[in-house]
Symmetry: D2
Subunit: 144 residues, 4 copies
């Protein structure tokens, strides 16, 4: 991982305004692995009071996207091509922790695996799992 | 569609607090079809200024879930088992319109297809497509 | 659609040896749409006597891949990046008919939607639906 | 894992006629984990001479389905609800080894993760990864 990747990713994350809107933060940047967390807030729920599936998806998508970016050259931007998420348990708890990991880096496409755990009374419970395809974009004029 | 399904779904939607947080509203409820819209706001974006993929996913998940609920008995609640989303174009524009439609209702599982269009200078552009599995839950003590 | 696309696709299909192994044939090639069919055989089943999900997937993957190829230049080859399939009903009947359709063509990636119907006593029943990402490969030295 | 689960799964596998057709065998049955292998044959390929994606999918679907079955009661049958597969590298080599593993068992639905490796000159290479939803069916009158 090039030395300023972490800084570059954190700057990019800061421009993802929706992350601020939901109160998410990036908590770990390693080569091929990124974590994003969001504390529980009552304005992030679905009708039964759990985190909405869309919030779960949002943070693990972001974690996977930046995990992919750690494997790309500095000039690259990353776009989400597609993802699939399985919801394994109700997303209830004090906070959600999404971890994205690169399964297979590629010249154009990078495949990532993500997991979301809910922190429930200090214990982590797996609530969702993602399989995602990310794409390197060099022609966007953007560098993140 | 039982006569009060629309009312029941709108009440349930009103309790999805994250929908208020992002400014989404439910704009259509028909048997097997539900639409959810969200106007552009600068606090809902990813790093390039487009709607975040998670916002796109959130509204089409909700549209698909309620589309499934229109085919279920009154006592049922609906949970998202899993979904897959392909992102076809940048989600830029004045607003997003998500339409969820039931492909196959079932006793336990209902499969839905969703599309998200962005309204760009008055014209709709397809930006994402979803294939989702919804589950009827009778044992939750909840009725939506 | 360039004039020899149909011939090119049929030649390519003929080299997909597994299609011969399962007895599948390509029955329709139109711009953005391809159909593949396979008659029932007792050696293509899972443990309950229905077509195996893998056979269902195989023909709709091939139909989607060639549908994508109809939108690509002559020099291109197509590879399956990923797909998701929902199985809606048991795949029983006299034959399966898979139809692949391009949802969104792209320079590098093409997104396709596929459906598989089973012919049951002369009537078609929807048994599976696919959402797939196909990739154009120009550097393979292959032209299909 | 109940003592005869392995025997029950192998009997069920033997009735999956398509597994015989493609020359696949079940090589490992452990609680929550099942492996299926298929040696290379020239009649199982796509147009570039690699294993067809459908063959890759077929064996990992079967591995995941039986992995789910190891977590179910004796009276249960298992059906594939849906799956998503990412193809990471060309599926070339002497044989394919699919490993299915239960991520989350459930009363009705079980979520599995599968990987397919190709054996290439004695070394394993990851060629595909699956995320799948399996369903327990007690009302089929079938016991596998």
């Amino acid at each position: 991982m090039e030395i300023n990747v972490e800084k570059r990713i954190k700057n990019s994350f800061a421009r993802q305004t929706v992350m601020t809107t939901i109160g998410a933060s990036i908590t770990r940047v390693k080569p091929g692995e990124v974590s994003v967390e969001v504390p529980f807030r009552s304005d992030l729920t679905q009708q039964h009071g759990f985190f909405h599936a869309g919030v779960v998806t949002m943070i693990v998508d972001t974690a996977c996207g930046y995990a992919a970016l750690t494997c790309m050259p500095v000039v690259a931007a990353v776009l989400t091509v597609e993802y699939k998420v399985n919801f394994l348990s109700p997303a209830s708890g004090e906070k959600l922790i999404a971890r994205g990991r690169v399964l297979k880096p590629g010249r154009t496409l990078t495949v990532c695996f993500g997991e979301v755990h809910a922190l429930q009374e200090g214990k982590e419970k797996l609530v969702a799992t993602m399989l995602a395809t990310m794409m390197k974009c060099e022609d966007t004029g953007l560098t993140d």
